[in-house]
């Protein structure tokens, strides 16, 4: 093996490892957003849930010395933000996109305000599985350190798919997302279904935030999130509102984000920022080719058509 080959291999492996590590928060926010959008609402404020979740998770883990308690409380704060979103949006003329942005500002503000004292201290980290134990190479060992939260998220994706297709509640969520009239005819309480879907979605986004502060990068500071929560909406479109595709989309976005640093480590610095934008570009291209002016995007919940078509 020549030196160049090793360079190439290490790039590949760090991209794979990075895809899992960087992709985990993507996975949770996109699953959360997917659930919310399937019920017919867009929550653009998941960035707020993510950042507030990161702060809460870190603070609770610091006080209780339990990382998992941190994860749970991060989810709960996310669910509370989701609850506010859902309760406000069920009123007439309240725009769900604007409320999302407002709650994002509120969530980030609250996190920065309350998180000031937690920038210094060290909280316990989440455990990881060392799947690279068989190898001597530190690169492979680092890349194959898989966090438990990722595994939970990866199992959640097919579970959510199953939920949408087989569970009674999943069918209710889909009915509400497809047609208000059908839901009313079936006697479903639309607002309540959307409330639960938005709260559960917010919970997942909060958990995604706790991954940021408790595992990777692994501490709380104000520059922790690089907009992963905002990207949730793009990811869900990319994944066609299918939870299993959300898993692949998160890995792809995570891998694209990891490609820049990995190339940089072997001396390729050109185009770092363009690689970062590749997923957005790809999503846009896919949207352009799959949309058409006389039908909706495949997979799009019809209630979201209120935003989709006039």
């Amino acid at each position: 093996m020549t030196a160049e080959d090793i360079g190439l291999w290490s790039v590949l492996i760090s991209v794979l490892g990075g895809a899992v590590r960087v992709g985990t928060p993507f996975l949770f926010v996109s699953l959360g957003e997917c659930l919310t959008e399937r019920s017919g609402r867009i929550n653009l404020g998941l960035e707020g849930n993510l950042v507030l979740g990161a702060m809460t998770g870190y603070a609770v883990a610091y006080f209780t010395n339990s990382a998992w308690l941190g994860v749970f409380s991060a989810g709960c704060t996310g669910a509370i933000l989701g609850m506010i979103h859902a309760l406000l949006c069920q009123n007439p003329r309240v725009n769900h996109i604007a409320v999302g942005i407002a709650l994002m500002i509120f969530g980030i503000g609250l996190a920065f305000f309350l998180g000031k004292p937690f920038i210094q201290p060290q909280a316990p980290r989440l455990p990881a599985l060392e799947l690279g134990f068989w190898s001597d190479s530190p690169v492979i060992r680092a890349a194959l350190e898989i966090n438990v939260l990722f595994i939970i998220g990866a199992m959640l994706a097919p579970a959510m798919w199953w939920f949408f297709h087989n569970a009674r509640w999943g069918l209710m969520v889909r009915t509400v997302g497809e047609s208000d009239d059908a839901a009313l005819a079936m006697g479903i309480n639309i607002n309540r279904v959307r409330l639960f879907a938005t709260m559960a979605g917010g919970f997942l986004a909060g958990v995604g935030g706790s991954f940021l502060s408790l595992y990777y990068p692994g501490s709380w500071n104000e520059g922790l999130s690089s907009g992963q929560g905002l990207m949730a909406v793009a990811l869900v479109i990319f994944a066609r509102w299918n939870p299993i595709y959300c898993l692949f989309a998160s890995l792809l976005f995570g891998g694209a984000a990891a490609l820049g640093p990995a190339l940089q480590s072997v001396g390729v610095t050109w185009g770092y920022y363009l690689f970062n934008a590749a997923p957005y570009f790809l999503t846009l291209i896919i949207m352009i080719f799959t949309s058409s002016s006389n039908r909706l995007l495949p997979g799009l919940p019809a209630s979201l058509g209120g935003v989709q078509s006039k």
Binding site: V99, R295, V307
Partner: protein, 347 residues
């Protein structure tokens, strides 16, 4: 008359309620409420000095709010102001660098026009995709924000980087004579005047011309507009262009009035704040002016709160968040109060 009262009283009530909620939050955090409010007021509107800070803060927000307000009038939710600011600022800085050496009287208008045009084309592309390809405008505009920021980062970290800008990579500085300067004796830059003037022009266009009427008709009912022979595609593309152009101009003004070069400060969140301002102003360009000044005031007052009362930097963000959430929620109150309804329509 009663309608006007409703339009004024509901937002004012919402702001009072949000200040109350904020006061409760401050008290819960163990701070002296009256001290914080006093600092906030002094830092925002208390002195001429703070007024100037407030107005500087409001300048870009008026223009980015127009980016959401114009397409909203015809029924589309565009959240791409951030990208248009970046594109406008970047293009105008590049042209400014290319024009080095020519007289400022010529260079400055060209730079502003370039920002205006490229910001407009950027958002018009979203309108084009929406109308001809059915691509959701909200999502494509969000994606284009990231693409714009990535192009900017690529250029300022790579080919266009001024090697002397170590901490904050930027393009080379534009000719100093091209900088736009401040209004009279103040330290408010001319960007503020542009913001007010454009809000007024757009208000006139939307409320006093047949163009504006056609836009409102198309926004209300596309089918009816088409049947009555209105050029709906042209109306859509032009509102998207005008909206994006305002945000692009905001970017160009940030370059010629504040930074003197293009750097990551262009993506400072003005685009996202503009979206909220547009919604709170109910997409009326005239109402955008006071709402933007209010937000500029919160941002300016925040500095003093931080210094005088030892509160975190994020205090202003919390207040902004509360105000926005409450005002947006108050949308559902319109038409609910009987006293605001004209007598004839009462039952």
């Amino acid at each position: 008359m009663l309608k006007t009262l409703e339009v004024v009283l509901i937002p004012v009530g919402a702001i009072i309620l949000s200040l109350l909620l904020f006061a409760i939050f401050i008290a819960l955090m163990g701070h002296e409420v009256s001290d914080v409010f006093y600092s906030l007021y002094r830092g925002a509107f208390g002195t001429w000095f703070s007024w100037q800070n407030t107005l500087i803060g409001a300048a870009p927000l008026m223009l980015t709010a127009l980016c959401t307000a114009l397409p909203a009038r015809i029924g589309f939710i565009v959240i791409g102001g951030e990208g248009a600011v970046v594109v406008g600022g970047l293009c105008s800085a590049l042209v400014g660098l290319a024009l080095a050496g020519i007289t400022a009287w010529l260079a400055l208008p060209i730079m502003l026009a370039i920002g205006f045009i490229f910001g407009g084309l950027w958002i018009m592309f979203i309108g084009y995709l929406r109308h001809y390809r059915g691509v959701n405008e909200t999502i494509s505009s969000l994606l284009l924000n990231y693409i714009a920021i990535a192009i900017l980062s690529f250029l300022i970290f790579g080919p266009l980087r001024d090697p002397s800008t170590l901490n904050k990579p930027s393009t080379f500085a534009i000719d100093e004579t091209f900088l736009i300067g401040n209004m009279g004796e103040t330290f408010i830059h001319w960007g503020f005047a542009y913001g007010v003037v454009f809000c007024l022009i757009y208000w006139f266009l939307l409320h006093k011309t047949t163009y504006g009427f056609s836009v409102d008709v198309s926004g209300g009912n596309v089918k009816a507009a088409q049947i009555s022979g209105l050029p709906v595609p042209k109306l859509i593309l032009s509102t998207f262009f005008l909206g994006g152009a305002a945000a692009g101009l905001a970017g160009a003004l940030e370059v010629v009035a504040v930074h003197g070069r293009a750097n990551s400060s262009l993506a400072a969140g003005y685009g996202y704040e503009g979206i909220l301002i547009a919604f709170i102003a109910r997409h009326n360009p005239l109402a955008i002016i006071p709402v933007a000044i209010l937000l500029g005031g919160i941002k300016a007052g925040n500095g003093l709160v931080q210094r005088a009362d030892d509160l975190p930097d994020a205090t202003g963000l919390v207040l902004q968040g509360i105000i926005f959430v409450v005002i947006l929620a108050s949308e559902s109150l319109y038409g609910r109060f009987k006293i605001f309804q004209p007598k004839e329509s009462r039952e």
